[in-house]
Amino acid sequence: MKKRSKKIGLIQKTSSIFIIVSLLLMSLSSIALYFYVRNILEAEIEEELYSTTARIESILEAGKNPYSLPPVVEVGTSKELLPDILKDTLIYDPSQDEIELFRELSSFKRINNINYKISVRDLVVESENILIAIIISYLLIIIVVFVVLYYFNKVGNSYLWKPFFNTLEQIKQFSLTAKEPIVLSSSNIREFSELNTQVKILTDKVRADYNNLKQFTEDVSHELQTPLAIMQVKIESVINDAPLSNQQYDQLTSIQKDIKRVTQMNKGLTLLTKIENNQFINPKQVSLTSIVEENIANFKEIFQQDIQFVNENELLVTMDYHLAEILCNNLISNAIKHHIGSGDIVIEISNKSLSVSNKGEKPILHVDQIFNRFYKENESVKSTGLGLAIAKKICDMYNFKLTYSFDKGSHIFLVQFS
């Protein structure tokens, strides 16, 4: 299965990219600055060491006594002349009373026929302090700049993308059944303006197609009813006008039955379209308990076996009254149609659910198709194949959960009202 990646907002995304890039640039520039300043400071120290050495040399050349100021300046004699040595060294500093890191330049000079070793040192600590001070002030400045930039970037992005978010909100609220077409605020940014135009074209087309389809369903249903009415009426006339044989009569009444079936199917399809079109928008508090009771009273006359009704407490649901009647009627009549054997049909209402169960021999073969229109498990049962599809549509419309299960020889349909 494809893993669903976590979605983040456009503004957050651009902000996070900004943060990552800024942090990267900040740390890189800090490191670069650190090395650059350190190099400069080192060069400065070296220059100072060399110049101190030169001063001492000139003092020595003038024949004055060697000048010494340990640990900063030490002048001694050496047997041989070596090249200059420049190194870091740890030396005890009596003035600080601790061991400090010094930069040391040892040069060997022959002055007035004496080989001198001149060691000049400078404290590294001082230069490091300067380095740290520079870096910290740099970081402070850059953080302030970063915060300000981040804020302006965010505000600017939000402003820039505002038309896009407006359009998105409009699309979210777009409803096929709404009488008004979608209205999008105009934008002077070309891409957003194009987006709006395309969205408008697309939604207008979808609305037009949808209305055509709706009109078509209504027309077909309407156009079918009249020929059916003519057939029905003519059959009745034939039955009453001429003497018929019993066989002819049976055939005519059988046609009457088929007309009735087509009519029911037609009604069912029209109802499905209407539910799909959200044409039932009259929700109110409905007592399913009393609707079920009415239904049972009606069905008792045409269904000989017992219908058990277990009602824990009155179930009130907010929905269209007509649809509530259809939902109960379809579930109960489905149970009656498919009831096999001698047990009772059981209707149970509990706190937030309605279940209807009838006896059967075996579970439904294709459970996934049971709520599809025209799905029939068993051809021998006369039905339009729409009852459960309508029940499911009604439940979907109100976010109720309609499920089927088979338990201990019973088909159970359960509606959970959340």
């Binding site: 309407h222 009813q225 009415a229 003519k234 009745e236």
Partner: protein, 225 residues
Amino acid sequence: MKILIAEDEFSLQQSIAIYLEKEGNVCEVASDFNEASYKISLYDYDIVILDLNLLTGSGIDILKQLKKKQGANTAVIIISANNSLDDKLEGLDLGADDYLTKPFHLAELNSRVKAILRRQMFGGGAIVVFNEIKIDTDGHVVTVGEKEIVLTKKEYDLLLFFVTNKNRVLSKEIIAEHLWGDNSDLIDNFDFIYVHVNNLRKKLTKEGAKYIKTAYGSGYKFIED
């Protein structure tokens, strides 16, 4: 009774007219909106049977026109291909007396027509008489000769349906639909219609009224010998 049938489908219009004329009514027909509008402005009818979708206009406008007419006491039965609840309610709100969805049985239409006529002429409490049988449609009391017979609700409906459609063959399908409406398609065998009819027949026969006859093996006919 004078009835106008406003229906643009010719064969349907004719079948309705023939059926209702056999019941002793005078029927006129209108095949489109203008004809219907013209006829109701000229003549007074007891009942207008009105198709909502007339070729050149809406039956609703005919209904409005009828209700505006001074002094007229015309009842309206709407017949419509549209079975939506809203249309039904709108029609009834505008003053229609009954609403039938296509397709319908002529026997059903006839029983609705008769019920309206009873309401119109006697304010509902008419007594339907067939020979020695008297049906008080107000108190739902049935007497045969001088003797009152006790019927269940369904038996009473059945008897009234038989009497209003006397001399007609009524199939079990028509009876089932009259008694149980849309739920009648749940009935997979009509044995218990037989039970209802048989109970009624027994109660009538006991008092000497033997009018329920079997037709073509499985239908019924209410007829005088």
